[in-house]
């Protein structure tokens, strides 16, 4: 379990993380979304013990991470700008990781060499961007981390490799309860991957939620009603109401079935649930906590 409390990190005058509290359960995949400069990478660097916080603390399995080699042996942080030794091949990098990570799995490495379409005896600096990513992901998984921190890790991967990496990661989670944190500025990239998402904005987590609850917690309804009734009295928690003639579009908190029944009971001649994209759910939730989503670019 990763736990942060009042975590603060500033670079000079710039406060990158501001009193951030969050908990990430073991075995879950936590997606962190946010615009550029919102603090995603800073949070991962604090969790992996690269940075020392200016205030608050971050603990993994109830231990401080900073300068804690035993714990770091179980954490792998894959930065968005990949680093390889100059002129090194993938095999040479594997030799390096073997010395750093005591749990490096040689059998797995041999297996992955066959799975990933890259030549591990070639210099990495001759690789394309996507191939470099593959090499880094492959090495990361071989280090057998309990905590895998991925910063924009799927950037530049083709769909086939992306699916393969996804399957490998899911297998690791199921097998040995690996915990994954993955950041992206694109919500769509995370939705088929994560079970929890947190939205980071200006160094704070605006909200975090179980993805399934998020999907089921709001529904959009289109109905034909001559005039606006008292929604509250009908048991509806209406977050948004837009009217065009006799047609109303409602954004309601609650399950689709109950909402449809309630709107029907108000005497609507036509009611229909309209599917909601995850982005719309986010907009709804953001407005619910008083933020204007339009100012947060994804």
């Amino acid at each position: 379990m990763i736990h942060t409390e009042h975590l603060t990190k500033a670079f000079g005058n710039f406060v990158a993380l501001d009193n951030l509290d969050t908990t990430i359960q073991t075995g879950s995949i936590y997606g962190l979304v946010g615009s550029n400069g919102s603090g995603k990478s800073t949070l991962l660097r604090l969790i992996s013990g690269v940075y020392y916080p200016n205030g608050g603390w971050v603990r993994i399995d109830d231990q401080d991470v900073f300068e804690n080699p035993a714990l770091k042996n179980r954490i792998f942080f894959l930065s968005d700008d990949l680093y390889f030794f100059s002129k090194a091949t993938v095999d040479e990098m594997a030799d390096f990781y073997r010395q750093v990570y005591t749990r490096f799995d040689n059998k797995k490495y041999e297996e992955y060499k066959k799975l990933f379409p890259i030549d591990t005896s070639k210099r990495i600096n001759t690789f394309s961007k996507g191939m470099k990513r593959q090499a880094a992901l492959m090495l990361a998984l071989c280090c057998m981390p309990d905590y895998l921190l991925l910063d924009e890790a799927f950037d530049g991967l083709d769909p086939v490799i992306r699916l393969m990496v996804k399957k490998l990661i899911m297998g690791e989670i199921a097998e040995r309860e690996m915990t994954v944190m993955v950041t992206s500025h694109n919500l769509r990239e995370l939705e088929d991957l994560c079970d929890h998402v947190g939205l980071l904005h200006k160094g704070r987590i605006l909200f975090e939620r179980d993805l399934d609850d998020l999907r089921l917690g709001l529904c959009k309804v289109q109905a034909v009603l001559p005039k606006d009734p008292d929604w509250g009295a009908a048991g509806l928690n209406v977050m948004q109401c837009k009217r065009q003639g006799s047609v109303v579009n409602l954004l309601v908190r609650g399950s689709a079935d109950e909402t449809l029944d309630a709107v029907r009971a108000l005497g609507a001649s036509f009611v229909e649930a309209v599917p909601l994209t995850l982005e719309e759910v986010f907009i709804g939730e953001m407005e619910g906590v008083g933020y204007d989503y339009d100012n947060l670019v994804f």
Partner: protein
């Protein structure tokens, strides 16, 4: 045997539940058949194991599958799945009939469609 639509608005765990129920009703999965382990499912489909666990847990709560500690998950009596599916069908039918009425489909046409459907040879039905 399971196909998930990642673009759909329906949560993946609900899609999984639906499809497992359909497989049970179609007779592809029999009573006491073992379901794939969470681990294998996760790896084969590339789906978050927590999602699969959630689907299994929910199906167990609804009495459609049962779990045996350390051995895995198994199909319970198909009647539970049947009841659920029947209820859902009636709900869908209700909505569709409303649409049909509004679109001007006559009572006789609906009756004829019902008769036709029920007289059809049992193709793809449970034995």
């Amino acid at each position: 045997m399971i196909k998930l639509d990642l673009q759909s608005r329906t949560p993946l765990y609900l899609q999984m539940e639906q499809q497992l129920i359909d497989l049970i009703l179609l007779g592809q999965l029999h009573e006491n058949d073992q379901l794939p382990s969470v681990r294998n499912f996760a790896r084969d489909l590339g789906i978050n194991p927590n999602t699969i666990q959630k689907a299994y847990q929910d199906l167990e709560n609804r009495g459609i599958i049962y779990s045996a500690a350390g051995r895995g998950n198994f199909v319970a009596s198909p009647s539970a799945a049947g009841d659920l599916k029947r209820r859902e069908c009636m709900q869908t039918l209700d909505g569709l009939l409303g649409d049909a009425r509004r679109a001007g489909v006559s009572r006789e046409e609906v009756h004829a469609a019902v008769d036709a459907a029920y007289d059809k040879p049992k193709e793809g039905d449970a034995q």
